[in-house]
């Protein structure tokens, strides 16, 4: 009930491609869905987040698509660059102050030049 399943585990694209990372959740009480980007040797950085009252959110080259009925959400990276090579984690929580994040397993993205 608390799981967030993330796929794929790893992803390789060419520069300019649009990698897509998918996450599925089970707990219908979740209403806050952030994505984190982590570079080697660094802590995770909050990239973008969405709440279920919208189906899509864009910030720069990063877009979250949200499908409430399917309990799925995904991250799209437009015009990907080698500097986007990192590990990406999706997460979910209830949007209350006491709720904790449940993380996906992570996706290692490599963008080749």
């Amino acid at each position: 009930q608390q799981q967030v399943k993330q796929s794929p585990q790893s992803l390789i694209v060419q520069k300019g491609g649009i990698p897509i990372i998918n996450c599925a959740y089970e707990n219908t009480a979740f209403d806050y869905f952030p994505w984190y980007q982590q570079f080697p040797g660094k802590g995770p950085a909050l990239l973008i987040a969405i709440r279920p009252d919208v189906s899509e959110k864009k910030e720069g080259r990063f877009t979250i698509s949200f499908n409430k009925s399917a309990k799925q959400f995904s991250l799209h990276i437009m015009d990907s660059q080698p500097g986007d090579s990192a590990t990406y984690f999706c997460a979910a929580s209830r949007g209350t102050s006491g709720s904790r994040l449940t993380f996906g397993e992570g996706t290692q993205l490599t963008v080749n030049p």
Binding site: Y32, P34, Y36, G41, K42, G43, P44, A45, L46, A49, F89, S93, G95, T96, S97, G98, R100, L101, F103, G104, E105, G106, Q108
Partner: protein, 113 residues
């Protein structure tokens, strides 16, 4: 957004000793957390650091092994006690602000020999 610093950034410790990790946030936050991350893996929540009261530990983590303090709204410490090589990991401090956005520190890389 909250900026989080951790000290030390890395350490090599001997079996049986203890290490205290400090976490400082640049603004008052509602909640602080401690995570553990093995290389190449997702984040595992150790505990929620509660101001003025005992931390709330996740299953598999106990206070005697991972005592936590949070004396105010911007500072917390995690102690890894009686260390063994299995405690070698990255320990991450995290904080959540009033908007429910959650941020991470750079991590403390611990090696136990």
């Amino acid at each position: 957004s909250a900026v989080i610093s951790q000290k030390p950034s890395r350490d090599i410790c001997q079996r049986g000793t203890s290490l205290t990790i400090q976490c400082q946030v640049d603004s008052q936050v509602t909640m602080m957390f401690w995570y553990r991350q093995q290389p190449g893996q997702s984040l595992t929540l150790i505990a929620t650091a509660n101001q003025g009261s005992e931390a709330t530990y996740e299953s598999g983590f106990v206070i005697d092994k991972f005592p936590i303090s949070r004396p105010n709204l911007t500072f917390s410490t995690l102690t890894v006690s009686n260390m063994s090589p299995e405690d070698s990991s990255i320990y991450l401090c995290s904080a959540r602000d009033s908007s429910y956005e959650q941020y991470f520190g750079p991590g403390t890389r611990l090696t136990v020999t």
